[in-house]
């Protein structure tokens, strides 16, 4: 399969408010794809449409060769998603949440989960309500990775993580991608795009533009944001 993700003319609005307009995007299999843009530009709307959280108005989305609406459940078996805000059930322990995610998938991911928890230095005996944002993000990473999906979708994954864990996180992504997985990385961190992404696109005011290269200098990167403010 050449493309892990194919979005064609995606349009989504929230009543009178703009969401995304006529977005088309292809992400090649094996790519680490950077998805950048100012807050409210439409990155999360695009991701949430891909995952079926939002019902889009027009267009089509194919993920791993499957239709995002018709094959929704099948797609989610092969996807690992980490939302920008990692929330779970407060009264559950970390180990219970991780096992719960694996159980819903009908898989025994205990070995992979243990490996990930060790790499991310995650204490699984604590309750979710005792965790900081960074530690909740680690739980989210484990839940997204433990079943070794074919496609990762990360929405601002590193905010709240310390530098060592950030490094370990990207090592894990590189490991999975080297084994054939694809990764979409929505981020505001330029260094992550430059260092890890092979391709990138920017969203502004609901519209998407592919970038010629993921290697962007800081001035150009900031200009994406400044242009938004000037308009």
């Amino acid at each position: 399969m050449e493309n892990a993700v194919e979005i064609t003319n995606l349009t989504k609005s929230y009543g009178k408010n703009r969401g995304v307009i006529d977005v088309s995007l292809k992400v090649k299999t094996g790519d680490i794809f950077g998805f950048i843009g100012p807050n409210g530009a439409g990155k999360s709307t695009t991701i949430r449409s891909m995952l079926g959280f939002l019902k889009y108005d027009e267009g089509s989305i194919k993920i791993l060769g499957m239709d995002s609406v018709k094959d929704h459940e099948k797609i989610l078996k092969e996807v690992g998603y980490m939302p920008s805000e990692a929330w779970f059930y407060d009264s559950m322990k970390v180990s219970e949440v991780i096992k719960y995610a694996a159980d819903v998938r009908g898989l025994d991911c205990s070995a992979e989960a243990e490996k990930l928890c060790k790499k991310l230095k995650l204490d699984t005996s604590k309750k979710i309500k005792q965790l900081s944002l960074g530690n909740r993000k680690k739980v989210s990473i484990v839940c997204a990775m433990q079943h070794r999906p074919k496609l990762f979708i990360f929405d601002e994954p590193t905010s709240g993580l310390d530098p060592l864990i950030q490094k370990n996180f990207f090592e894990l992504i590189n490991e999975y991608v080297s084994e054939g997985a694809t990764c979409i990385l929505s981020t505001h961190v330029l260094s992550e795009v430059n260092r890890y992404c092979k391709n990138a696109a920017i969203m502004r005011e609901g519209r998407l533009t592919m970038l010629e290269s993921a290697d962007i200098d800081e001035d150009k990167f900031l200009k994406f944001y400044e242009d938004e403010e000037e308009q």
Binding site: E73, Y89, V104
Partner: protein
Amino acid sequence: MKTIFLKELKLNLKQFIIWTVTVGLMGFACILLFRSMEGEMKDMADAFSNMGAFSEAFGMATLSVATIEGFFATEVGTLHGIGGGMFAAILAIGIIAKEEERHSGEFLLSLPVSRTKVVAAKGLCVLALLVLFAAVCTGIYLAGFAILGEEVSYKEFFIYMGSGLLMNIEIASICFLISSLTGRVNIGAGLGLTLVLYTYDIIGRVVPDLKDYIFVGPYSYANASEIFSGNEANIKGFILAVIIMASCICGAFFCYQRRDLAS
């Protein structure tokens, strides 16, 4: 789906225990109080049965509060009816909406499970807890009768507890639909709905012009006094309850399937 169902049971266990113990033990205490109040009740029974519309509204025109059945129907029946209705409302009104309010919806729906299965698992959890609530309360009340050494008409008792369960499921199904429509846990709306339905039933029994419309509310067919008096079953009420339940449950599936999930 089984995993989600079991997780929901676990997450709602505390709430279930609190409500079951509270309603069940209050009913149990009421039953045990019968013996000590029996003498006073005999004096009060005549007065209570001559209060016109109010006597009818609370079933005291046909049942004597000086008997265990009359006492159970008027005292425990009211407590179990309101308590059970409130539990059903609180349980159902939060079960879907809490995912969005507490931001766990993205985690849940990013797992390979359809929204239909999520709603089904949550609906089954509500049903299971309501059945358990009715079963435990039934056991507690029977234990109360046994301790007192009093015999009640078991046929009417079980019809009442079964009707109460149906009434709880009807209230829960309305709240379940509300829960699927909103991203906020609106406990106030659930409790308000229960109290409005209960008040509607009382007013309907007091005001003669409203008597023909009592069947609209779920408390009409789960009235302990009517059941213990041996009145005819409220068939119209039962039929309407089934229609309301089916509509609300189907509506919940339909609405949750089609709406955008708040982040």
